[in-house]
């Protein structure tokens, strides 16, 4: 059973427009959420996080929104740039016996076209 779901395997956006990546989760015990970006043949790199007690966190061009009642979060990238083309992973964490669990979704491949 997938605890973190990214239902769109891919997304294509024009440079300068907004990219919206979506993520749903089933585990209400998640304490925080993170977004990661991954290029081929590299490890994922951290983008932005949000605590479950907040509904929005912003960092430059990246904003994450959390809707706890819907168990949904989204990552907004504005404006999108060709260098943003990568696979984006959503992750939920902070539950479990030692509260160190960090569960990832399958990822969404973003392509930003010039």
């Amino acid at each position: 059973d997938q605890q973190v779901k990214q239902n769109s395997p891919s997304l294509s956006v024009q440079e300068g427009r907004i990219s919206i990546l979506n993520c749903d989760y089933t585990n209400s015990m998640f304490d925080y959420f993170l977004w990661y970006k991954k290029y081929p043949a590299e490890g994922p790199t951290f983008l932005i996080s949000i605590s479950s007690i907040k509904d929005k966190n912003e960092d430059g061009r990246f904003t994450v929104f959390l809707n706890k009642s819907a168990k949904h979060l989204s990552l907004h990238i504005v404006p999108s740039q060709p260098g943003d083309s990568a696979v984006y992973f959503c992750a939920g964490g902070g539950y479990g016996g030692s509260q160190g669990n960090l569960i990832f979704g399958k990822g969404t491949k973003l392509s930003v076209k010039p």
């Binding site: 304490d31 951290f46 992973f89 160190g100």
Partner: protein, 112 residues
């Protein structure tokens, strides 16, 4: 500026062989993780640790073992390699909850 270092980068194993994937971090992080990524799939958590001497199973622990005798090192052991363990393995570390996890470059393992 080493961060998280994984060795080896590539390995081919025969069915039934065993090996240890090494992971070390120099950031004094308490949290460490092992993930595997199969083609077209996300990252699946194998094991994690919240400090030296403490380890917990993740989503897909079968066929693997870990230990955490020091803060820096978190080796992953495959005892009897199977083709289903062909994957890219990532190690990560984090300072704690709600903090970003830093990933290594990955180990590409093929079991034939």
């Amino acid at each position: 500026n080493a961060g998280v270092t994984q060795t080896p980068k590539f390995r081919i194993l025969k069915i039934g062989q065993s090996m240890t994937l090494q992971c070390t971090q120099d950031m004094n992080h308490n949290y460490m993780y092992w993930y595997r990524q199969d083609p077209g799939m996300g990252l699946k958590l194998i094991y994690y640790s919240v400090g030296a001497g403490i380890t917990d199973k993740g989503e897909v622990p079968n066929g693997y073992n870990v230990s955490r005798s020091t803060t820096e090192d978190f080796p992953l052991r495959l005892e009897l390699a199977a083709p289903s363990q062909t994957s890219v393995y990532f190690c990560a570390s984090a300072g704690g909850r709600l903090t970003e996890a830093f990933f290594g470059q990955g180990t590409r393992l093929t079991v034939v």
